[in-house]
Symmetry: C2
Subunit: 216 residues, 2 copies
């Protein structure tokens, strides 16, 4: 298990933190500081951070590494990519899914519903990530999966901001249940359509949100 080297462990570590939303938009990651905490030298940490930069998870500034600041345009661009890739990904995953995948998705949905009782949105968000991971892992095309995961990290914060109110949450869960049904039936077309609507809904929510922020 500890056969991997320091760089790989640190890379995995920070990547997980980012994916969990534990790195705020103002957090500055500095190699020396992290190295100090872990009791290792700068170099492996620095290399891990730079790898995360080239993977799009971080942005290197002259004063530490931080989450990349996405412009409005970039976010819309990512939605285009999602529309192009995720329906096909969902379709192929639905066809190739195993029973374990169904179980994982089922469990994730239950977890999501359980979070509805609280007002906090972070647990809800985390559970949604888990649901997403569970079907994404069933995508047989590794390169496609990797590509999707690459930008997933970046739009993380956006998705978080569009999931706030209860109505939106209910809509999301309805969509997830629909996707789950498609996966159960191994219905590729249904999964594709479901995913298309899902992404378009996400974009609509985002556009509404930004309009609201402008006017008030």
């Amino acid at each position: 298990m500890t056969r991997r080297n320091i760089r790989q462990r640190v890379h995995e570590d920070i990547r997980t933190q980012i994916l969990r939303g534990e790195i705020g938009p103002d957090t500055k990651l500095v190699d020396t500081a992290i190295a100090g905490e872990l009791g290792v030298s700068r170099m492996p940490v620095r290399e891990a951070l730079m790898q995360l930069v080239s993977e799009g998870y971080l942005e290197g500034t002259s004063r530490g590494f931080a989450l990349p600041s996405l412009s409005h345009e970039q976010i819309l661009e990512f939605f285009v990519l999602r529309r192009l890739l995720e329906p096909h990904a969902a379709a192929s995953a639905a066809q190739a899914r195993t029973e374990q995948v169904i179980a994982a998705m089922q469990e994730a949905v239950s977890a999501i519903q359980a979070t509805l009782t609280t007002r906090a949105f972070e647990p809800f968000f985390r559970a949604c990530e888990h649901f997403r991971d569970s079907w994404l892992n069933a995508v047989p095309n590794t390169e496609l999966r990797r590509t999707i995961q690459r930008y997933s990290g970046q739009v993380q914060s956006v998705r978080l901001s569009t999931m706030r109110d209860l109505d939106t949450k209910r809509t999301i869960i309805a969509g997830q249940l629909e996707l789950l049904e498609a996966f159960k039936a191994k219905d590729a077309l249904a999964a594709s359509n479901c995913m298309s609507r899902f992404v378009m809904e996400g974009e609509k929510s985002y556009r509404k949100l930004t309009r609201a922020e402008w006017s008030g």
Copy 2:
């Protein structure tokens, strides 16, 4: 101009070499050796090489860095990605294209035709890359363009191997001229269709090639 640091210069350097096909499949890139040649220390070279790995241009082995050896499955996976992304990319680029883009594409096609007189395929290949760059740069969605460029580096060698005989070359040029016409007319649909056929032709050539290799 020399404001960029050593790492960035070395990265750009090696990347260009790879794109030009100057790195053979048996070439082993070792940081100490390259550093020695350039009169710098290992570290910036090592970092450049590792960045190229995470970008998919190279593969890190226990004995130097080398071109990644793509499995048959991986290559087919990349074709799926191309089918999903490039038609849309071409369509949007056709709509947004400027006169400079047309000029660049035109020039590239002329250059390609000029290489037909020789038997060598490397000039032809290079000119094709140039054509591809010229329309790809017109894709307005930066993230989409970046995503396409990311895997482009990897399938480089495959594309090279499918471009050998004269008939294939003529087919490719015909396709390029068609794409150029679509761009001139700002015809997004035509560009999309053209690109779909282009990618599917490429996949067909590749499949034919691998079948031929198996049988002898």
